[in-house]
């Protein structure tokens, strides 16, 4: 270790030779090529590519056939060349992927940077016994390298050896500390660092396995339904205003004439049926979507690594080292809260929701849906040690109701005159902002709570739904206490906790004193565990 100022001097002499004189003889842990069946996939790809020119060639212009042939040969040629030249090699330090004939390239990915070794397999690949291996790093770019495709056995072997090798590296503190400093995603601190994974086969613990019933419920309680209906109507209205429907105006006129010819009761029935049909369509599609996406969802713990397997058509297998978990949230939308159901999500270093190419895979979902009690019972598997931490829950300041009421007054003060001027006395409805915001304030106050344990920080917030979040204090990057003008007036403050992955965690409407004390103790703990990581 090159650290010389902060550490006790005794530590340095022991550590320095360990890195400096580390022998560089490389042991090859695993190596291989793509699976030959990939050529079949590529052949299909090439055939699909030339389908259009081929058809044109046959039907219209014969010289398109030549074009199709050239394209086909080129496609297949590059595919074969790629297949022949691509090889991977795993040593104790890094994963190397080499490819190319004219333009040779070798990519070396240090083991410590590999955050996630995911598997994906489409229906076709599954039939051929193939998986796509996605090497994910903490760089925030998501997928760093892609091996399309290996045989399932090779892929499993690679992952196994890789995890074991990384476990061994974590056991050597000098080497690990050096890399922790060098790798951005790693500098986030692993005070909860696990004992090294043993190279032998480790037992797997099933943390959670989703039943089809749970997945059905997930689809049925998907609130995007509501949004779907609302946006559907909004889109119709907008289209109407923009006269986009003028093309279909004849049809609409017919429908309108038909509708107006009906009796009011019958009209109501027709409209209700239409609405229900839209709703039912939403329920069915989202339920089917959830069933397909999360089919057979299994969360298991293997040593220190969490693993998720799911999918019906495209199967996905994603790993998440437990030490990289930055925050775990248990989310309940209002409908799910009514039913006592919750979704568990985990943010990890190097990725944020809505960023990167892999958002379709539901990658931050750890449990698609389960009972609230089960969700809380699973927490220790995701955040080891949380079961030993004692939490004393505190409420936010009741003054937040006053703050919300004042916000309501401000809104009313702006909206009422405008509405009155535009619509006459009916604009007095703008005054409704005051009671509405007050009620919102009461709801927020009832849901808001926080607790600071020794190594975890937990909070709960929501209006009609509710979200519980837990952050290991060792992962805290920075803390901000913010006061808006109204908060300054009322002595309130908003606390924001930054971690290396996901969006910041916000805790609104604490008293200023609480917020400052909490911020100070959080950041002090973060600094202490950062020093311990060094």
């Amino acid at each position: 270790m090159t650290d010389d100022s902060e550490l006790p001097p005794a530590a340095a002499p022991d550590d320095v030779p360990a890195t400096a004189a580390a022998p560089r003889d490389e042991t090859i842990l695993a190596q291989g090529h793509l699976h030959p069946a990939v050529l079949l996939l590529r052949l299909l790809d090439a055939m699909r590519q030339v389908a259009a020119p081929l058809l044109i060639g046959l039907a219209v212009q014969p010289w398109f056939l030549v074009l199709a042939l050239i394209a086909f040969v080129l496609q297949l040629g590059t595919a074969v060349a790629r297949y022949l030249t691509l090889s991977y090699l795993l040593t104790e330090d890094e994963l190397r992927i080499r490819e190319g004939i004219l333009h040779r390239q070798e990519r070396r990915i240090p083991l410590d940077r590999i955050q996630d070794l995911g598997f994906e397999s489409t229906l076709l690949r599954r039939g051929l016994g193939l998986v796509v291996v996605l090497v994910e790093t903490a760089s925030g770019r998501g997928v760093e390298a892609r091996l399309d495709a290996l045989s399932r056995a090779d892929a499993e072997h690679l992952r196994e050896v890789l995890l074991a090798a990384r476990g061994v590296r974590a056991a050597a503190p000098a080497v690990d500390a050096e890399h922790a400093a060098a790798a951005p995603g790693d500098g986030t601190g692993d005070a909860t660092r696990e004992p090294p994974a043993s190279p032998t086969h480790e037992p797997e613990w099933y943390v959670h396995r989703s039943t089809p019933g749970e997945l059905l419920l997930r689809g049925a309680t998907d609130l995007r339904l509501g949004a779907f209906v609302v946006t559907g109507f909004a889109a119709l209205e907008l289209a109407d205003q923009l006269k986009l429907l003028s093309g279909a105006v004849g049809v609409l006129d017919t429908v309108e004439r038909w509708l107006t010819s009906l009796s009011p009761a019958l009209l109501g029935v027709v409209l209700m049926t239409f609405l229900l049909a839209v709703l039912a369509f939403g329920v069915v599609t989202s339920t089917l979507g959830n069933l397909v996406q999360f089919h057979g969802f299994t969360l298991l713990l293997r040593g220190t690594v969490l693993q998720r397997r799911f999918g019906l058509l495209t199967t996905r297998q994603k790993t998440l080292p437990r030490a990289r978990v930055q925050r775990v949230t248990i989310e309940q939308t209002w409908l799910r809260r009514l039913c006592g159901l919750a979704v568990v999500k985990a943010d990890s270093a190097g990725g944020s929701r809505g960023d990167g190419q892999d958002t379709s895979g539901g990658w931050d979902v750890v449990v698609p849906l389960t009972r609230l009690g089960t969700a809380h019972a699973i927490l220790p598997a995701l955040l080891p040690g949380i079961e030993n931490d004692s939490f004393t829950w505190h409420k936010g300041s009741p003054r937040l109701v006053l703050r919300m009421a004042l916000v309501g007054v401000l809104w009313a003060a702006v909206a009422t005159p405008l509405l009155w001027w535009r619509f006459g006395p009916i604009g007095a409805a703008g005054l409704g902002f005051v009671p509405l915001w007050t009620v919102l304030g009461v709801l927020v106050y009832r849901n808001l709570g926080w607790a600071a344990g020794d190594s975890f920080f937990a909070l709960q917030h929501g209006v009609v739904g509710r979200t519980f979040a837990s952050v290991p204090t060792a992962k805290v990057q920075a803390v901000v206490v913010r006061q808006s003008p109204l908060s300054q007036l009322l002595g309130l403050a908003e606390l924001t906790v930054f971690v290396a992955g996901g969006s910041p965690t916000r805790l609104p409407d604490l008293t200023l004193a609480d917020a400052r004390q909490l911020s100070a103790s959080l950041v002090e703990r973060a600094a202490r565990s950062a020093a311990a990581d060094w």
Binding site: T188, V476, V480, A526
Partner: protein, 166 residues
């Protein structure tokens, strides 16, 4: 976890940051005001049905407000700005309308930048920017530092991290 009495940072920015901010904000406000009168007003007068000459006063108010902000805000902002090191922490407290208190452990910083714009250089000022891991809001900046002070802070952070690897 028991809650400790939190400290507040005490160091102030260089006084000459006030004229620097006034200059920069003043130029921005001036450009906006000119844009309003030269482009927005004629366009509105021609194309907006509800335009009335009385709205000229509103526009005048907006322009005046912009310039007044440029004149007043720097002083207020300077009066509020505090930063400082407390052991392993970099603390800052600032903001006129929204007051923010930020705390970053030095060992959580990924890298440190010194930024000096052309006008900033004329005033002999520098901005210290520290980055932590993460995507959103991972940059923390301390503006208006004299160059020597900024360099000293940067070196101190590097030294506190202990490895000169920043």
């Amino acid at each position: 976890m028991e809650l400790a009495e939190p400290p507040r940072p005490t160091d102030r920015l260089a006084g000459r940051v006030v004229p620097y901010w006034m200059l920069v904000d003043g130029i921005t406000s001036l450009l906006l005001a000119v844009g309003l009168w030269a482009f927005a007003r004629p366009w509105l007068a021609d194309n907006w049905r509800h335009w009335s000459p009385g709205l000229d006063y509103a526009l005048l108010g907006v322009s005046g407000g912009l310039l007044a902000m440029a004149a007043v805000m720097p002083t207020l902002s300077y009066a509020r700005w505090r930063y400082g090191f407390l052991g392993d922490l970099l603390l800052m407290r600032y903001g006129v309308v929204f007051v923010e208190e930020r705390a970053v452990p030095v060992r959580r910083m990924q890298h440190v930048d010194l930024m000096r714009g052309p006008v900033e250089r004329l005033f002999g000022l520098a901005t210290l920017v520290v980055f932590t891991a993460g995507n959103e809001g991972s940059a923390f900046r301390v503006p208006g530092l004299p160059l020597e002070r900024a360099t000293e802070l940067r070196d101190r952070i590097v030294q506190m991290r202990g490895d000169g690897r920043l």
